[in-house]
């Protein structure tokens, strides 16, 4: 009994190293990370811009940006992906590959979330700091650049890192729009080894779990540490 278990466990784990399975899984993870990274790279500056515009004294603009944020808050990310992958290209008659769609959809989502992070950071800067800047003759942009952003960046960074982990995790939805991410690769491996190694699922998902953990855990640890530091710093 015992030797049999050990043997089957070993054979299940073998699946990970069969052929080029291992490098394919890492490749899948690479795709997820590349898409997350690009989405953050585009979404961050866009979100900072939108967040800054959300404190401008113009209710029409603020309203539009608010609706934009709520759209991404309310609609499940999966639906957003489907919308971009199946519906929009068909309606507009253009064909874009899944990865590009994913980057665009995630970037817009990131921008929406970041805009809220940035906005609440910017308005957390005390009024008298803003008035001091005004009294020195600063323009709205100078106030943003020299007073508001530097004084709230400490608050924003942990939220941005938390969002980054959420983005990485959400890439697991990409298999649904035919992007070969790490979960897709895992499923392919399980398919091909269904007969030979029925317990492959345990090992493959276990390994994927480990991969996500290795990527996301440090991110959320750093976020926690920075959050603590921001609290201490803001005591002035």
């Amino acid at each position: 009994m015992a030797p049999l278990l050990v043997e089957s466990a070993a054979s299940g784990a073998q699946v990970l190293f069969l052929g080029d399975n291992f490098s394919r899984l890492l490749g899948g993870l690479g795709t997820s990370l590349a898409i997350s990274g690009l989405a953050l790279l585009i979404g961050l500056p866009l979100g900072i811009l939108l967040g800054s515009l959300r404190i401008v004294d113009n209710w029409v603009l603020r309203g539009i940006l608010r609706v934009y944020l709520e759209f991404f808050r309310i609609v499940p990310t999966l639906v957003v992906l489907f919308l971009f992958y199946y519906i929009l290209p068909r309606e507009m008659g253009i064909q874009i590959d899944g990865k590009t769609i994913a980057v665009i959809a995630f970037a817009l989502w990131v921008a929406a979330e970041i805009s809220d992070v940035v906005r609440s950071g910017l308005i957390s800067v005390p009024d008298h700091q803003i008035e001091t800047g005004k009294a020195l003759g600063m323009s709205g942009f100078q106030l943003l650049w020299y007073v508001r952003l530097p004084q709230s960046i400490n608050l924003m960074i942990p939220a941005v890192l938390n969002l980054a982990t959420r983005v990485v995790k959400t890439t697991s939805l990409l298999l649904l729009i035919s992007v070969i991410d790490v979960v897709t690769v895992g499923q392919q491996i399980m398919e091909t080894n269904r007969m030979a190694h029925p317990d492959a699922a345990f090992w493959v998902y276990g390994f994927i779990f480990l991969l996500y953990f290795i990527v996301c855990w440090p991110l959320s640890m750093i976020a926690k540490a920075l959050e603590k530091r921001a609290k201490e710093r803001n005591r002035d």
């Binding site: 008298h128 700091q129 008035e131 001091t132 800047g133 005004k134 009294a135 020195l136 003759g137 600063m138 323009s139 100078q142 020299y146 007073v147 530097p150 004084q151 002035d236």
Partner: protein, 254 residues
């Protein structure tokens, strides 16, 4: 367009209200170049509001504010921005930028707003810091300074813009007593150098020494307006007498 007889600042019939609440009622006065005007009045009389109107942080409902003979009230924010570089303001709560060093705090306005030459600005900063004996704190952050030191740096920061007039709103009110003196002495020094100043303060001894003229406000109305000596030695209204009495040190109350 200015000759010697044009006051630097002229305020005429200024009314200011927050919604229904009238805070300033027909306030008029003028300040000549080199003059020190002290604003006195009980809490809530509108002193801070008035001083904030003078650099456009609050808008006014009627009346006019003239700077060197030009009407500045009712102007666009952009014009005010230009003007604020010539009107220095120091608040009660020092308000140094906590993310910047002392030197960066002082140079930010001159460099980024006035776009002056860095070398020249730094020279000016060094001599200003020397004057207030805070040179060694050039690279310190505000959190490393005492309240009195912060407030003196805030004054230096405003001075580094080379303003034509300085507005002070109770700049010693949140300081520990032992730090009040160093700040008041700095302001007395400025007055001796003929800086035009409008000063809100609750330090009566200081007010008496620094004031060329006094404006006494109550409930947004100018109750009394005269020279410092007259005001402190023989206030003409009962209200001002009562105010001075209420502000006098305990030991001189019978």
């Amino acid at each position: 367009m200015t000759d010697a007889s044009t006051p630097l600042l002229r305020v005429t019939d200024v009314c200011k209200s927050y919604g229904e609440h009238e805070v300033l009622k027909n306030v008029s006065f003028s300040v000549a170049k080199g003059e020190v005007l002290v604003l006195l009045g009980p809490s809530g009389s509108g002193k801070s509001t008035l001083i904030r109107c003078l650099n456009g942080l609050e808008d006014i409902q009627s009346g006019s504010i003239e700077f060197e003979g030009n009407t500045i009230s009712g102007r666009k924010e952009k014009d005010w921005r230009e003007l604020r570089t010539r009107i220095g303001m120091v608040f009660q709560s020092y308000d140094l930028f906590p993310n910047l060093t002392v030197a960066q705090n002082i140079c930010l306005g001159p460099l980024k707003v006035q776009k002056r030459d860095r070398h020249e600005v730094e020279q000016q900063m060094n001599s200003l810091l020397d004057e207030v004996q805070l040179s060694e704190y050039r690279n310190s952050y505000p959190r490393e300074l005492s309240g009195g030191q912060k407030q003196r740096i805030a004054i230096v920061r405003a001075l580094a813009m080379n303003p034509d007039v300085m507005l002070f709103d109770e700049v010693t009110a949140s300081l520990d007593p032992e730090m009040v003196r160093e700040v008041l002495e700095l302001m007395l020094g400025l007055a001796r150098q003929k800086m035009t100043m409008i000063v809100v303060t609750h330090e009566m001894e200081f007010a008496r020494r620094v004031a060329d003229n006094v404006l006494f406000l109550e409930n947004g109305v100018v109750v009394e307006q005269q020279t410092g000596e007259e005001f402190f030695d023989c206030p003409s209204t009962e209200r001002a007498q009562a105010f001075l009495h209420s502000m006098s040190p305990i030991d001189s109350v019978d």
